[in-house]
Amino acid sequence: MKNIRVLMFGWEFPPHNSGGLGTACYGLTKSLTKSNVSVTFVLPKKLGGLNHDFLKIVFANIRNIKIRGVTSLIHPYITSELYDEYLLKAPEHQLYGLNLFDEVRRYGLQARLIAAEEPHDVIHAHDWLSFRAGIEAKRISGKPLIVHVHATEFDRTGGKPNQFIYDEERRGLHAADCIIAVSQLTKNVIVEHYGIEPSRVMVVHNGIDHKDFRHALPPALKNVRESGKKVVLFVGRITIQKGPDYFIKVAKRVLELDPSVLFVVSGSGDMEHQIIRLASDMGLGDKIIFAGFVRGDELLKLYRAADLFVMPSVSEPFGLTALEALANGTPILVSKQSGVSEVVTHALKSDFWDIDDMADKILNVVSSRGLHDTLGELGSTDVEHVTWESAAGKCTQIYRDIINSAK
């Protein structure tokens, strides 16, 4: 079988990721390269220079992937941390101004050079920051362009899109030969808000790498658990999209009936201070722990310490953290407005705004062994088939189809 060469444009890559996008690019490319696909992954800049851990890790762990940094994009004012910050910020934030949009344009110009240098059969661009680069690359090489939507501006902003970003997204979606959406939910948004024919959008659900979650770890929150308290966990960026304010309101409602439940919020983001204030204004200071941004084994330990993982997202194109929780055997309660709810059956599902419904479910899980165990056991079996291999297989088929139809 012919080897397929993919020129892939992304924006972040672990461990320099602020959220699911980097994790998804990592998981997908790693599985793609196990089959007959070679990937040249383009990042807008070299994170922290050539000696950065990041490059070593990727080169060491992922065969067939070349990481190309676009050196000219190193900007005097912008550190890698700030880039991550940009990704997090809502568009109205003042820092989210011309600088980032400049970077997107420059990334696009650089993409022309890369497209000329790197041999490839298909172009694959992840989310709006890379769409322009994808379009430019296609202009040079004439190869088919696939744009992959992990989130839209409607999801990130709670329905109040920034015009520039919306235009970039729209341009990329219309220029693409094929669109990949991470869920049916996201496909619907693309069709509804961006004027795209449904037949042009393929749904490829994200997956997880199960062996990343199987190693033994010392327990976290041991004292809390030994005191008989139950732990309810939120993991995600603290932004409007993820519904952290609903989490606090649900916590309040749960604690009215069962004061022994402890709520843990892991993540950071532009609403962080606002949420901490909200919690303390509601008198929940000692009932909610803010753990900050946690990754790796520390995050795994949190998942395992929790009796229930809650994802009250207002709009969640996928929601990888929910899969991670299940892979650790922890039951989940997810927003019906989430892509992950399409692939997981053994999960509790609520409307994000239905505080009473979520509180009802949380109170039942923390008080009933039977409910907790059934959800945890069947849920973790449920996600065993939700893998990056499966996602990569679907992408490979899309590559083949599109290359053949371009001939």
Binding site: T345, H346, D357, D360, N364, G370, T374, L375, D382
Partner: protein, 442 residues
């Protein structure tokens, strides 16, 4: 001679409404959903009455009038009859008319269509007694044949029910228990002397109940002539064809447009065309045919799912927790002496509640999903669990009040002490005094 024995199960549970934890302590009405959802018991009963009970009863009456040889049997759960009285008296009248023909037998079961035999023999006996009284009251007859909820059966049950005086008990004709033997004979359970076990011929029963409208089935479309030929083939290697199925097969599980009513209308005539065929009721069947061998069921068998075991109701830990919780309340429930509390506790024993919590194949969307009025097994469990919290509060509340009133009485009058002690338990003694009595003896 081949005797065809038709038996139909007729049951509707009291489904629990969407009951949130915030309703605990405020709302003691668990079964009164008035929404458009399928947990609205009145709505479901009307729907099924119009699609199945009324048209099928009308047809059965026609058939009984047309063919003097035609006979059938029903088992009505008590909670089904309660709902007929409350929501659809005309349906009840149509069943009464059928029974009046004298060729329609009614079987015994637990009033609440429960799994009580597995958890409390005392409660099992009480629910059978309640059922017997209800049947006597509504139909003027006393059942002589027993069938347990969803054909759940084992040797112990057969022996126990023999002790209660029944002449026959129905069971699934499970392949693993029959081995090479045919279900088309009467059997007996090891250890029994008089009671006979009648086994469902699941192949022929399910041809009607499940496969009738399945276009991927090689025998589709099923005609009454074809089915009658299959019955004729039993001649010579069996004497009894037990066709046991849900009554809702007609018009509800198999819709009218599948041709199920035309099939049923022509079936008695087609079967009676063969001179060696006849129809028979379960009581007549055990009077006519001797038991040919032992049907040895150490473990429970049922007619549910491909497993034909208890896993539809009792396979995940939610189901076990819920059912253990409900039976753990038994003593406390009776100690209240509160008829409403006792009734609610019993309505919560109906097997359907646990069926709705089943997670087997939930992901594949099969029959469990079709028959589940809740979106998920988890929603079913949560509503049940919340209701249980409320029931516990009501029990505790009665207890406090009782203790309080007792104290008052003691202080006021020593003489009154006896009365105060006895009063709340009078009901208990009345319903639980007898153990495995010979209640079906005539």
């Amino acid at each position: 001679m081949t005797s065809v024995c038709f038996y139909f199960q007729v049951h509707q549970p009291f489904r629990i409404k969407k009951y949130r934890i915030f309703d605990v302590g405020h709302d003691h009405h668990y079964f009164n959903d008035k929404s458009d959802r399928d947990i609205n018991n009145e709505k479901i009963l009307h729907k099924v009455a119009n699609k199945c009970y009324l048209p099928t009863n009308k047809l059965m009456l026609e058939l009984l009038e047309k063919h003097p040889e035609f006979k059938i049997a029903y088992s009505f759960s008590g909670v089904f009859l309660d709902q007929l009285e409350e929501f659809s008296p005309e349906t009840l009248v149509s069943f009464q008319k059928l029974v009046k023909t004298g060729r329609v037998e009614i079987l015994e079961e637990t009033y609440y269509h429960s799994l009580a035999f597995l958890y409390s023999k005392d409660e099992f006996v009480r629910q059978v007694e309640l059922h017997r009284a209800k049947i006597k009251k509504l139909f003027g007859v006393t059942p002589k044949v027993f069938r347990n909820t969803e054909l759940i059966y084992n040797n112990e049950l057969a022996n126990f029910v023999e002790g209660m005086g029944y002449k026959a008990i129905l069971a699934e004709g499970a392949d693993n228990l029959l081995g090479w033997r045919s279900p088309n004979f009467a059997y007996r359970s090891p250890g029994t002397t008089t009671i006979k076990t009648l086994l469902k011929n699941y192949k022929l029963s399910d041809d009607i109940a499940f496969r009738f409208s399945s276009k991927s089935w090689t025998e589709w479309p099923l005609t009454s002539e074809k089915f009658a030929n299959w019955v004729n083939e039993v001649n010579g290697n069996g004497n009894l064809v037990n066709l046991f199925m849900d009554y809702e097969t007609f018009g509800e599980h198999q819709w009218e447009d599948t041709g199920i009513f035309e099939f049923l209308r022509a079936l008695p005539g087609a079967i009676l065309k063969h001179p060696d065929n006849e129809f028979i009721t379960p009581t007549e069947a055990v009077a006519k045919y001797p038991a040919v061998g032992e049907y040895d069921a150490h473990n429970f068998v049922s007619w549910a799912d491909v497993e034909r075991d208890l896993s539809a109701w009792l396979s995940n830990s939610m189901q076990h927790e819920a059912i253990n919780n409900i039976y753990a309340l038994e003593a406390d429930v009776f100690a209240t002496g509160d008829a409403k509390i006792i009734e609610d506790w019993r309505k919560l024993q109906t097997s359907d509640h646990f069926y709705y919590m089943c997670t087997k194949w939930f992901a594949d969307g099969d029959v469990h999903k079709y028959f589940n009025p809740y979106d998920t097994p988890y929603e079913a469990f949560i509503a049940y669990n919340n209701v249980l919290h409320d029931l516990r509060l009501r029990i505790a509340d009665r207890k406090t009040k009782r203790v309080q009133s007792k104290k008052d009485v003691v202080v006021k009058k020593k003489v009154a002490k006896k009365v105060a002690n006895r009063a709340p338990t009078v009901h208990v003694k009345k319903v639980s005094g007898k153990k495995a009595p010979k209640i079906a003896k005539k």
